[in-house]
């Protein structure tokens, strides 16, 4: 999860690498499915490395969908689809921050989901920790994020 149009080039590059790393583990990348920002970059990284990608789209058609969303779920429910993104994910990795991303982190904490903050600033980390996030991990590299996911996946024995 991360910003769309407002993502920086560095965030997009890191999202691409994260998508690639997730694909190499044999896992699936699920994002908001749109054709820009962290969503598209992560799905492109996974697609380029033979990974599976799912885009859960806000609109009621394929308009605006990223070509790297191999599976496109069309919700027609706008930002309310953010809750589906969160519920459908085993682990949420958060890269960059924006209003939509903040709603996803909040909904993830509400749903008691595992959240990994990748390269987040102190303000973001402090705020969400204050909201009650004992399941939030803070990391600064993709390798650390993958390692935490591996541990977590092992614990949960996800098929």
């Amino acid at each position: 999860m991360g910003p769309g149009e407002g993502a920086t080039p560095e965030q997009n590059e890191m999202a691409y690498e994260l998508g690639a790393a997730i694909a190499k583990e044999g896992w699936t990348v699920l994002t908001g499915g749109r054709e820009f920002g962290v969503m598209e970059a992560a799905m492109k990284g996974a697609t380029d490395h033979k990974g599976l990608t799912i885009g859960v789209l806000p609109g009621d058609s394929l308009q605006g969908a990223s070509e790297y969303a191999q599976i496109k779920i069309i919700t027609g429910m706008g930002s309310a689809r953010n809750n589906i993104n969160v519920l459908s994910s085993h682990v949420i990795v958060v890269l960059g921050m924006a209003a939509g991303t903040a709603s996803e982190v909040s909904l993830a904490i509400k749903a008691n989901k595992k959240v990994i903050f990748l390269c987040q600033d102190e303000l973001t980390i402090s705020f969400f920790k204050s909201v009650g996030t004992y399941r939030v991990s803070v990391v600064s590299t993709i390798k650390e994020a993958i390692d935490i996911m591996k541990d977590y996946v092992g614990m949960k024995q996800i098929r």
Copy 2:
């Protein structure tokens, strides 16, 4: 799309064969994702024939999900998820009838989606034709359903 718990053995068998036939075309099966009825049978048929399956679940957890739903979308929105099933599908094949199924057919017609009625009775066909369904096709074999989908997919140039 079709009944869950109320599906007859014949409907489940046909759903299995339909899922298998869809998989052989290289297409994806999307259903309501639950662990019984036409949903599960179609996904099992596809899975047994190396096809990809998506289950769009009504609950807010994996509880009640079919093991044949390879990709599980957790919506947490009950029957309102029927609209997501419809919007996310290129073509809706309807096998058997129940309240939830009727809502999906209605929403599909509302969304101007292509609908194929497989082995439906006259009453169902007449009712939905009266609702305004020039995009509804009526067939009695899986082969006919697949042929219509092939034509339709060709027309739409779906990737």
Copy 3:
């Protein structure tokens, strides 16, 4: 519940009278909230008789909302909002038929809600009875509809 743009003048007139009759009982009219058809007519009838009206809108803004929807719930979720209409109603009265309306009746039956068919044709009645609708009542006048609602409200002790 009933058709929007496709409603006949007779249906709109009857919807107006139904809204008026509901208001006279001190009950609330809830509809899909749009600015035409049975939705608007029922809310206008209620408003003109000092009743309260709620419109549960499909869009993500007030655009297209009827001025007779005194309370406007903006869902931003398109036809998936039909499930909210159904869940939020004590009793569903169905006047006229269209794809959206058929989805509401189906969802109401699925949710085990009380449904009253007002002036429906045989085909519609037969179809929904076949879907399993022991809670569906069929009436031909507004007075009968109100009487059934009175009985039902009494039974449920709705505040």
Copy 4:
């Protein structure tokens, strides 16, 4: 908008006063509709002062609904209903903070809604300002909140 079970007595008292003040202006209080916390307190304050209250509930029945939610919208969609709360409100007043509340503030900013932070701590204010919230106002009394709403309502000419 504010915390449910985790609300402090002070927050509940202030929510009650806020609901009362909104009712005195002739406006409507819309909350998440549950039977505790800031939601219930604000609706009780409004109800006690002859105001109208709407509760947009997460569940699929009346279970857990506050008796002070005069109008109960049953969404059956869990936390995804937070987006409906936000879209349906003219102005969002935020009192206290929790995961669900944070998702509502985020969705409000995403939807470009007017947000008033009442008695929020520096961390919360700083975080949401960093997310991009030029439409967020920060106040420390109910009177200030009401004054901002009056100005805003005047600007928007809300009926």
